[in-house]
Amino acid sequence: MSPEQILQYIFAGITVGSIYAFVAIGYNIIYNTTGIINFAQGEFVMLGGMISFTLSKFMPLLPAIILAVLITAAIGGLIEIVFIRRMRKSSVLGMVVVTIGISILLREAALYIWDEQIRALSFFTGTEISSVNILGARISPQVLWVLGVTSIIVGGLYLFFKFTLTGQAMRACSENSRAAKLCGIKTDSMVNLSFMLSAGIGALGGCVVSPLTQTHYAMGTDLAIKGFIVAILGGLGNPIAAVAAGLILGLLESFSISILPMAYKDVISVIILLIILVVKPSGLFGSKQASSLKDF
Amino acid sequence: MNNSNIIMRIENLDKYFGGLHAVNSVAFDVEKGSIKSVIGPNGAGKTTMFNMIAGYETPSNGHVFFNDILITGKKPWQVAEHGVLRTFQNLKLSNHMSVLDNVLLGWHSLGSAGFLDGMFSSPLSRREEKKAKEAVFPILEWLNILDLKDSEVGNLSFGNQRAVELARALASNPSMLLLDEPAAGLNMHETTDLAKRIEKIRDQGRTVLLVEHDMSLVMDISDEIVVLNFGQKIAEGKPSEIQKNEEVVRIYLGGDDA
């Protein structure tokens, strides 16, 4: 492999890894406030891509994306109000089953609205053949968009959870929801906000990567499992580490293609998941004690 | 105290949680066929002691011998197979199962029929089922829950649930019972009944190790008492001796947890 090729693989890996990170961040935000893994997280990415694609026919790209993110966030909030809120007392098994059911419904709705065709949002700058030269590797400017948006999201979330009152309230909910309630935090609206936030972030990810990876109604399931691998790899409940883990998985997959048949790419990542789950379920960056305190 | 009469020997048990020394070099013996109580204020390390004896937590240091067999480091189900059965402070019952099934579960460690026996309803399996039921019905009757045998445990009153838990433990014909606050949540009348039952259990030749907050119950039925405070054993002796022990009195009168 030439250095340029390696660089090419690296950028491909980072792009894919960023999508995984978007999903994993979504998992983490909801997990932190509710202790639920929302299996429908991958569908938010799909919805972001699909809705913005449709809207972009009627308006410029930027408002189309903003509107798509808002609509998906609203869908996320609605899901919480209609389904999740009633399930508070249910078992983990019940939660798993319900969110799987929701993911099927979103996917089927998308199939009904957008059919089986593969869609792609147009490139933010330039076209599919334009490229920038970085150290000899030719990459699409869209890759830079993906990286930029990912960094902004991560930075924004960090500031949000650290410095805003709402962000701190959300964290309080995750640590001890009853105590948070006693302190006057409206846990219901925090949970709702977490669904909207993670749906919106997923949708934004779906928009940015759509030109590169395209959008298909059934893409959610794969993303859901990849995002989960990343969330586990980074340690559940840690959105920032999820990004690092996302990039690691993206790079691994990207390089595995050069050795193994394309079809086995997913096998590699799932095997990584199984190994991590068995050996160190607290994730690469998580501490064992912290994860054992969480109730599964 | 005659050595051969000792059923459980606890040697210098230690447990650290991070920086907290929850149990600090606690050692005592339990005499066969006696009722021994462990008391102490909240956070004294009583439940941690129990968890270590029953295999739910591994001690940082020290050993527990049961009938001269080392049981520390074994898993809960292995400890149970040795005949040391525990109950839980906040009841661990299978709420979706019937009373009878819960109590029959207690018989589990006495049986040996496996998956294939069960699937093909082998003679061994049928014989064991019969034996288990014969063993369990008198216990249900003794604890006044025979009428409830087909009810789902989740629908029972708290007092009855406690009875089911005790029945389940007895069904395994244990040589030693670890009772973790069995009177918690019971009314006066039920507590009196419980006291009689625990004494009866001892009179059947079983050994009872009891963690309990209800002082009158402890003083009434215990043969010996161990007092823990901040993870350390501060006194051990007969109820009459403990009642006179100055340090114990100071802790219980000075503390907020009498």
Binding site: Y264 | S94, K133
Partner: protein, 366 residues
């Protein structure tokens, strides 16, 4: 004896359904009823794992595929040009090679499905065992994702591997002569016998499971559902029990895969998909989780309707709605609430009338 009454009723129902299709001239429905039986078998196995022992598995389609693909692969290899090889000699001496004539008049020799049946079950069992030991230590979401991950691995492997036919799957799988005159195949003439093969298999499985549920091991398994502390305290080797029940579920799925593949004459990757695994979970959920009869009834109804194409474009959506609605409004299941209790009390009455004297002994002489 009481516990076998529902099994007898099931048998009668199966016969009645067959007669009804015959009388009304709707014999073609037997095809879907037969296929439903195999899916029911998977659901019954999953019901033991998920409903009784409380361990979710989103990988049952993977085990189904292991059963199906093992036999499809092994029974479609032509041995006629491998006469010198050791495996040929071994199979030949054991009488496990079957000579068949193809449509074009060539003779081919393939391995007896008895061999592949044996291997399919062993392979699924070992896989479940090796997977189960580490994975069943996990709980909740982790277990769900890990089993789903296993399902994805199997799906990708069959989809991406040439010898498994990639997206086309494996076709031309020969029929399976169980004994002379009784053939497992999709041939029109064997439709009725195949309907009975499938449902007798289900009945056998149910019988075994009904026995198991009411045994020492069964109680230990059921106690796992509400949390493992109680089972642990009573001397149940929880880790081992979970793995074994997982193996049982896997073997049931693999058996279903084996039979279905010979019945259909082939298998494709869609049988291994995560969507199928989710369906099995949906069926067990709607059947009332810890209720083998619920899984059976709902498995039959839903699969039959789905295979008949009643749900049309909304096939997957129907299962999604079922999952959500059931878990939200009737987490105990549809069957358990509405029907099961009535049926039970009905039998209770009949029984009481019959043996008033023996009533006190009913539990010691089951």
């Amino acid at each position: 004896m009481k516990r076998y009454y529902p099994v007898i009723i099931l048998f009668i129902t199966i016969v009645v359904i067959q007669i009804l299709t015959f009388v009304t001239g709707k014999g073609y429905m037997l095809t879907q009823l037969t296929m439903s039986a195999y899916y029911v078998l998977v659901a019954v196995g999953l019901c033991m794992v998920m409903g009784y022992a409380g361990q979710i598995s989103l990988g049952q389609a993977g085990f189904f595929a292991i059963g199906g693909y093992t036999t499809a692969f092994l029974t479609t290899i032509d041995f006629s040009d491998k006469a010198g090889t050791a495996i040929y000699k071994l199979l030949d001496t054991l009488g496990l090679l079957i000579t068949k004539e193809t449509l074009y008049g060539d003779t081919i020799m393939h391995m007896s499905p008895w061999v592949s049946l044996f291997l399919a079950v062993i392979l699924a069992g070992i896989t479940a065992y090796l997977l189960g030991i580490p994975v069943l230590k996990l709980k909740g979401h982790y277990l769900a994702m890990a089993t789903m991950g296993f399902g994805i691995i199997i799906y990708r492997l069959v989809l991406g591997t040439k010898i498994f036919g990639e997206a086309d799957g494996i076709s031309n799988v020969p029929s399976f002569t169980i004994f002379p005159g009784l053939e497992l195949s999709g041939d029109f003439s064997t439709r009725i016998s195949n309907y009975y093969i499938a449902w007798l298999l289900v009945i056998a499985a149910i019988l075994l499971m009904v026995n198991l549920i009411n045994s020492r091991v069964g109680r230990a398994l059921r106690s796992l559902h509400g949390g493992e502390d109680a089972s642990d305290a009573m001397g149940v080797d929880t880790a081992r029990y979970k793995v074994i029940v997982f193996v049982i579920g896997a073997v049931f799925a693999a058996l279903a895969g084996f039979f279905m593949t010979h019945y259909n004459g082939g298998i494709g990757p869609s049988e291994a998909g995560v969507g199928k695994s989710v369906r099995y979970v949906a069926i067990v959920a709607v059947g009332g989780m810890a209720n083998i009869w619920g899984s059976l009834v709902m498995g039959l109804i839903l699969n039959f309707l789905s295979l008949r194409g009643v749900f049309g474009h909304f096939d997957d959506a129907v299962f999604g709605v079922i999952l959500v609605v059931m878990m939200m409004f009737m987490p105990e299941g549809f069957i358990r609430i509405a029907v099961y209790r009535d049926i039970k009390s009905f039998f209770h009455k009949i029984l009481n009338r019959r043996k008033v004297e023996k009533i006190k002994l009913e539990h010691s002489h089951e």
